[in-house]
């Protein structure tokens, strides 16, 4: 049977990917962020999963505003890297895990989550930056297959934080019931203080960010109880991306340990964070 082995929460700010692609990770601006990643990367490199289930949102690259699925799962064998308006990132295409995707779609539908499916999907920085955070130098291929899980965090109304947490719990059950012996890591991406437009642009609420970073481990229900308005007020309009961390947290059990975390301001216009949790085997 499949098992969930670890969970990673990470920001997916595009400029973090650009810093890696343009070899600027040692620049004074970026060095503290990447130094913060180092212990997590070392640990993850020694604990390679077979498949990464990556919860993320598209940013106007594969999902048009004419049709906005609340929750969707990629079911393809391969996903191309999206051209987001400035050319494709120079990273490998993403190999899918279609059998696990099919299993997750079926199990989640049986648990009464209405999942849209993508048979063709160009994956944007929301997915590829977390892969680069995990594995900065993939060479010709990423070290694991990927199941993309998309959440609408762009068009109001987004799913509630509570619904995302419940989806994560169902996702964890679905992964553990997959009959193949695969080791699965779950990534919850995006988030931390994020206000891109308007007079509040550049808003950073470190107090809220640090509270969230602490509570995601042992008090996720407290975070799941927050409303959309709470997230937008405290973390910024795009800070609502944090609800995707709750899908990851829900997929893990109650028995986890924190391997590493880091928090940094700024990454372009936002805060950025990483938190890595290991599933403790009974």
């Amino acid at each position: 049977m499949a098992e969930v082995v670890w969970g990673l929460a990470t920001s997916h700010v595009p400029s973090i990917g650009a810093a890696m692609d343009n070899h600027k990770t040692a620049d004074p601006y970026w060095k503290p962020l990447f130094d913060g990643y180092a212990p997590a990367r070392e640990w993850m490199a020694a604990h390679r999963p077979d498949v990464a289930v990556i919860i993320y949102n598209d940013h106007a690259n594969a999902v048009d505003l004419d049709l906005v699925p609340t929750f969707a799962i990629g079911t393809a064998a391969r996903y191309e890297v999206a051209d987001e308006g400035w050319g494709r990132r120079p990273v490998p295409p993403v190999v899918g895990a279609p059998e696990l995707s099919e299993h997750l779609v079926r199990e989640l539908m049986d648990e009464e989550f209405d999942i849209a499916t993508f048979h063709e999907l160009d994956v944007d920085h929301g997915l590829t930056v977390p892969l680069s955070v995990y594995c900065p130098e993939p060479g010709d291929a990423w070290p694991c297959a990927v199941v993309p899980v998309l959440v609408n965090v762009i068009q109001y109304p987004q799913p509630t934080a509570a619904r995302c947490y419940a989806l994560g719990k169902a996702m964890g059950r679905a992964i553990r019931s997959f009959p193949q012996d695969v080791r699965v890591a779950v990534f919850g991406t995006g988030g931390m203080s994020h206000q891109l437009a308007g007079a509040r642009a550049g808003l950073i609420n470190s107090e809220f960010d640090r509270m969230f970073l602490r509570a995601i481990e042992a008090e996720p229900a407290k975070l799941a109880a927050l409303s959309r308005e709470d997230y937008i007020r405290e973390a910024g309009t795009e800070g609502i991306e944090l609800i995707m961390w709750l899908v990851m947290r829900g997929a893990l059990s109650e028995h986890i340990t924190r391997v590493h975390d880091t928090y940094h301001v700024p990454a372009s216009n936002t805060a950025a964070a990483l938190a890595l949790f290991e599933e403790v085997r009974a």
């Binding site: 308006g85 891109l196 308007g198 509040r200 950073i204 609420n205 372009s268």
Partner: protein, 114 residues
């Protein structure tokens, strides 16, 4: 939906209002469209059915007006990138700062609530 008056929340009404503008900016993810847009911006805007106000905002790069007319920042960012302008530049525009001032505010811990 929030007491903050300076949020641009992309709800369904804004989505309707901004549809042509967002579709036009979204099309810039294809290189061939970027070339076509740059060749004649006004003609390109007309082909996507932008309103006169939206067209003016695009041609004059009035980023705040675009938001007022229903734009999503994730779409207009593609137009900014075509102009080789960063999100930090846009942050400066929205807050009345130069890109250098905005970047300095972020480096010093970001802008605070209130």
């Amino acid at each position: 939906m929030t007491t903050a008056q300076d949020n641009y929340v992309l709800d369904l009404a804004n989505n309707r209002r901004g549809r042509a503008l967002n579709r036009m900016c979204g099309s810039l993810r294809h290189a061939v469209n970027r070339e076509e847009f740059s060749a004649d911006e006004a003609v390109y805007c007309d082909a996507y059915g932008l309103s006169p106000e939206q067209k003016r905002a695009v041609l004059e790069r009035d980023w705040t007006a675009m938001l007022d007319l229903g734009a999503s920042i994730f779409y207009t960012y593609k137009l900014a990138m075509l102009d080789k302008l960063s999100m930090q530049y846009l942050g400066g525009v929205f807050t009345g700062m130069s890109v250098e001032e905005f970047a300095a505010a972020m480096r010093s811990g970001g802008r605070k609530l209130g």
